[in-house]
């Protein structure tokens, strides 16, 4: 039996077989990260987080729990915050991916959220910070940062084991003003 129509074309450009020859063979994956196109050959199991860190060399996105519970791997897909650890790299194709490395301007000027995190001394160990900042940028853009209660609720997917939460709240509020005025 041959494969039904081409709409089922697999990422490997091979027909979807019941017993494909080698499931471990790398597949071509194209990712657009911070405006740059990357052509990779990846094991199909590779998560977006591992593709960023291990294959592209962007280690700003952090691996905390690797099971969708801590938010340290938060990145933006077309501006929407998602978890890199629970996204297959192959499924992130076609999106514009933003990591912490892509947030500052081309001239190196920090994003208002990055500056706010410095101004409010939000760093302690710093491990959750890239995820916090990307999540916070999206939180403001979504319109979920209007009140303190909203910010706490909509930032709850980013855990900070140093418990810098009061400073995170202050930073989001400062950046919100600048971002909304922009």
């Amino acid at each position: 039996m041959s494969l039904p129509p081409s709409e089922n074309a697999s990422q490997t450009d091979q027909p979807l077989g019941r017993h494909p020859p080698d499931l471990r063979a790398p597949v071509p994956v194209r990712l657009r990260v911070n405006g740059v196109e990357h052509k990779l050959e990846l094991d199909i199991r590779t998560t977006l987080l591992d593709a960023l860190r291990e294959h592209i060399g962007l280690t700003g996105s952090k691996k905390g729990c690797d099971q969708g519970q801590c938010g340290a791997c938060t990145v933006l897909l077309d501006g929407r915050r998602v978890l890199g650890c629970l996204t297959l790299a192959v499924m992130a194709q076609g999106f514009s991916i933003t990591t912490i490395e892509g947030l500052a301007g081309a001239d190196g000027a920090l994003h208002p959220m990055q500056q706010a995190f410095i101004d409010h001394d939000v760093f302690q160990c710093g491990y959750c910070t890239p995820g916090q900042i990307l999540s916070a940028v999206a939180c403001v853009a979504e319109g979920h940062a209007k009140t303190d209660a909203d910010i706490r609720e909509y930032m709850s997917g980013n855990l900070c084991r140093c418990a810098a939460y009061p400073n995170i709240l202050a930073a989001v509020k400062q950046a919100r003003t600048l971002m909304e005025g922009a």
Binding site: P4, S10, L88
Partner: protein
């Protein structure tokens, strides 16, 4: 994680065709089937990393668009709509607050941006004995092996709808809103579309805890439909958990009320109640609904309804607290719903 074949389907029909092809005539209950659909992946990849699920083929349906349609007759939510999109929808928030709240009180915004509505209702239990393959006993994971939770640490486990085979809690929130509002499911399969009452989608773990739904492995949830009713605006979702946000329910209640004179101390015409965090499947509390009909909603009538809801509850060593917690959660939800200011 074990290797798998991957293919992307651009349409629901293509996804079903791909599943039929990849299944190659094998029949399986979907949770254990070797061919799985993946949309947000938030449950699937998590369980694949843990080796609880190990499909040989993943069919990517994340590129299929979903849509939200609202009409006189009710609501139609495409299965590929992301949780976050439905939670923020202004008409759903106003006319079906129990749905919006059940979504926004679940997971985190990152997960809600990823997870589809269809995948959300199929989310699998958080039972630690299910999620950790080093435990030999789990009837969901290894049919016939027994249930380690019965004699184990069972604080998170269910008190309603349990059996000697399984006490794992159904973890979702959105499903309680759907079951309370008499939603239906549109299911696409190789022989076309069929409809099912949402209440018949999940199966209580009687003899086969590994068979969690009425779906076949080659069937795809296409949409949920929610009928309009005079109770949908006076509705809410109350979720009680160990921390204030980003946690699974210890007890939750989805309630929708129609009150004579519209809230002015009149009698309850209609009550719709779903319970979460306490049951093995999305739970409709029909006994509690019947107890409220015709009564003025106050502390006493709410308490009587809650007693009816939990009359059949069975607590174990660590989870018996959920019986009283569940009752109090329902009482508070009912009283808060009765007091809601409902827009005309």
């Amino acid at each position: 994680m074990r290797p798998f074949a991957y293919t992307k389907a651009e349409t629901p029909d293509a996804a079903v065709k791909a599943a039929v092809y990849a299944l190659d005539g094998e029949t399986h209950a979907p949770p254990g089937a070797p061919v799985q659909f993946i949309a947000g992946g938030t449950t699937m990849l998590d369980l694949m990393k843990l080796d609880v699920m190990h499909p040989r083929t993943l069919i990517d349906i994340s590129g299929i668009s979903g849509g939200i349609e609202i009409g006189e007759g009710g609501l139609r939510l495409g299965a590929l709509v992301r949780m976050g999109e439905a939670a923020d929808h202004p008409t759903i928030r106003r006319d079906y607050p129990v749905i919006a709240q059940s979504l926004v009180l679940a997971a985190s915004q990152q997960l809600r941006n990823m997870a589809s509505l269809g995948g959300n209702v199929l989310q699998r239990t958080r039972c630690a004995y299910f999620r950790d393959v080093s435990y030999a006993q789990c009837n969901k994971r290894r049919p016939g092996s027994g249930c380690a939770a019965l004699q184990g640490v069972n604080r998170q486990h269910a008190v309603l709808g349990t059996s000697e085979a399984c006490i794992a809690t159904y973890p979702g929130d959105f499903a309680q809103a759907l079951i309370a509002l008499d939603a239906e499911v549109e299911i696409l399969g190789p022989r076309g579309m069929r409809r099912l009452a949402f209440a018949e989608l999940h199966r209580a773990p009687v003899e086969r805890p590994d068979v969690e739904t009425a779906l076949a492995a080659d069937e795809l949830i296409a949409a949920f439909t929610v009928p309009a009713g005079p109770w949908t605006r006076r509705s809410l979702y109350l979720k009680v958990r160990d921390r204030q946000s980003y946690a699974f329910a210890l007890a939750s209640a989805a309630v929708a009320l129609e009150i004579a004179g519209d809230g002015d101390g009149g009698a309850v015409r209609e009550a719709r109640i779903g319970l979460g965090g306490v049951a093995t499947v999305p739970w409709r509390a029909r006994e509690a609904e019947a107890a409220l009909r015709g009564k003025v909603l106050d502390e006493d009538s709410a308490r009587a309804a809650a007693e009816a809801a939990f009359a059949g509850a069975r607590g174990l060593e660590h989870n018996a607290f959920k019986i009283e917690l569940g009752k109090r959660t329902l009482v508070r939800a009912l009283l808060e719903a009765a007091r809601m200011e409902v827009p005309a």
